[in-house]
């Protein structure tokens, strides 16, 4: 389900050329890295892009605001960014737009519709989708662990809110423990290790994805505990492990990869280029999270690529290889 291709927009753009700004909200895990890589890959396709200005916000809202302002000072035509806080970015986006710069959001929302466009997965929906699958898998009955991302992080809060709605409607489901494991494998592993010791009769794990599901699987295995259904994301590590488990005939495990694709930035660039070309663009482009299940797992898993790869990509194999060769 690819969006508009680069060639079309370059023809419609005439001989105009543009400077684009891209702010990476963070570069601290492989998902955020790939988010930028997808953008870079997409930008290569446009010969109407004169220059791309990259900045990095280190998950710091104020740095992000300064970064956007520095792009404004350098006279960019459009900015693609992933808001770190939906509320905090509104004023600076408004100022950029007022200055004639097209701002396109990728992967996180802003609290007010002051931007040109947003390409996003609804994280509330992301949370719901996994939760619905898990409830059904457990037959509406059972005790579960919840693994959230960073405490206070809006994405984490939104996903959990979505999931919570589903769990609240199913009184048979009991959340026995909620923990913040920061989307991190090590943190998830430690957390689940201790949760498991306290609640050995757990029936399922609702994880916000990232690398946490892998951490949970490892904790179960290390404890010699029968695996249970767990939600996940499109982390290649998880998909590989899952494939292995199926091959080994594991009876307990099943999963669903609710994917928030890293190519959101590529799509956002496409939208930005359309807008610069004077086209009407749809403001809120909410993408249904792709669901990876045992049935379509084969299409996504990439046994030839590293664990830190995120499978739902738009990059070509060449571009992927470059990402992993540094």
């Amino acid at each position: 389900a690819c969006g508009s291709s680069g060639d079309e927009s370059s023809t419609t753009g005439g001989d105009e050329s543009f400077v684009i700004g891209f702010d990476a909200y963070w570069l601290g895990n492989s998902w955020s890295q790939q988010l930028q890589a997808e953008f870079e890959a997409a930008a290569e396709q446009y010969d109407t892009i004169d220059d791309v200005i990259y900045t990095q916000s280190d998950n710091d809202v104020q740095r992000q605001i300064s970064n956007v302002e520095s792009m404004m000072a350098q006279g960019v035509d459009a900015i693609v960014l992933t808001p770190i806080s939906p509320d905090a970015v509104v004023p600076v986006i408004r100022r950029a737009e007022d200055a004639g710069i097209r701002v396109v959001l990728a992967g996180n929302p802003a609290a007010e519709p002051v931007y040109t466009a947003m390409v996003n997965v609804d994280d509330h929906e992301f949370g719901r989708a996994g939760a619905e699958w898990l409830v059904e898998k457990l037959g509406g009955q059972g005790s579960i662990f919840v693994l959230n991302g960073l405490a206070g992080n809006p994405t984490s809060e939104a996903r959990f809110a979505g999931a919570k709605e589903v769990f609240d409607q199913n009184p048979g489901i009991e959340i026995v423990a909620t923990a913040n494991a920061d989307w991190d494998q090590a943190a998830a592993r430690t957390t689940v290790d201790s949760l498991l010791a306290a609640h050995p009769d757990v029936d399922g794990v609702w994880s916000q994805g990232g690398s946490m599901t892998m951490g949970a699987i490892e904790a179960f295995e290390a404890a010699g505990h029968q695996l249970v259904p767990m939600t996940g994301e499109d982390s290649n590590a998880l998909l590989k492990k899952w494939t292995e488990l199926i091959a080994a005939g594991d009876a307990g495990f099943d999963s669903i990869g609710v994917s928030k694709p890293t190519w959101l930035t590529a799509q956002a660039l496409d939208v930005a280029m359309e807008a610069l070309a004077g086209e009407e663009v749809e403001q809120d482009q909410i993408i249904e999270p792709s669901l990876i299940t045992a049935d379509n797992l084969e299409e996504y898993v990439r046994p030839d690529l590293p664990d830190s790869f995120w499978s739902n990509t738009r990059m070509t194999d060449d571009q992927i290889m470059r990402l992993f060769e540094g």
């Binding site: 990476a24 570069l27 200005i53 990259y54 900045t55 990095q56 280190d58 710091d60 809202v61 104020q62 740095r63 605001i65 300064s66 970064n67 302002e69 520095s70 404004m72 000072a73 350098q74 006279g75 806080s85 939906p86 509320d87 905090a88 509104v90 004023p91 600076v92 200055a99 609290a111 405490a151 206070g152 992080n153 809006p154 984490s156 809060e157 939104a158």
Partner: protein
Amino acid sequence: MTVMRLPLGASTRSSLRAGWGLWALAVLTTAGAAIALPAFRTPTSMTSLMASLAPLLLVATGQAVVVLLGGIDLSVGAVLGLATVLVATTESVPVAVALALLAGLAAGAANGLGVLAGVNPLIMTFAAGGIVQGIALLRLSAPGGAVPGAVIDAVTWQAGTVPVAFMAAVGVLALVWFATTQARWGRLLQAAGFASDNARRLGLPVGRVTLLAYSAAGLLAAFAGLAVIARTYSGDALSGTPFVLDSVTAVLVAGIALTGGRGSVLAVLPAAVLLGVVDQVIRLTGTNTNYQFVLKGLILIAAMWLYQAARRRERP
């Protein structure tokens, strides 16, 4: 006209002299950046720089007072975050602002009491920071909230390219500097910072000075929360995190000794400006941000090396 001699104290005058190298460096760097980078001298960039410096200046000023006393405050980030959260979750404007500032004052006073009870400042403020952050997260679990419009109007006002928050921050810094050098409290701060045992034995009001210093740091961190709101228009329990290390860095680059009693709050201004300009230059030149950490670390070590060398020369 006769020359009027300001009755400024020796400490005040020596603190004016002390930071001249740093002032020169800050001015030269800023001028250099303005000449070399056209984007740097645009009003947008200047305003952005000043707006981002405002909270740092406020937090670092408080940090400087505490470091002068021989302590350190790792809770400033959490206090700043709590202040933004309180403003964003309280409807009435005066109540919101009063609540935020009171919370800062209270957190600072608690730190001061802990330190007076003998808890190491590093540990006391680290632990207190955890508690404050927990409270802030309980009140507002994800960034957002609704900052009263009147607050936003007030804090985002601009005189030309100069944001009011920046002016306020510089004003507060000057005031605090003046207090640390010209008020009795400041003199006691330097004395107790250098040798608290001595001060105690002499019956100097070490307790009051300590309490006041930490309370000031808490209050200024809460103030900084308002300056952050001027940029983010929202509350965020985690929004102060970067200021912890940044404020310590600014204070150290300013040449204030971690051992207490030596250095000038005024030097925090050129130090913060220097760090802010370097940051802005990295941003505007598109330098790979991965090198940012390395650069920051090297600047810190270089600065400390220079100060250390200077202090060694001073000694007979």
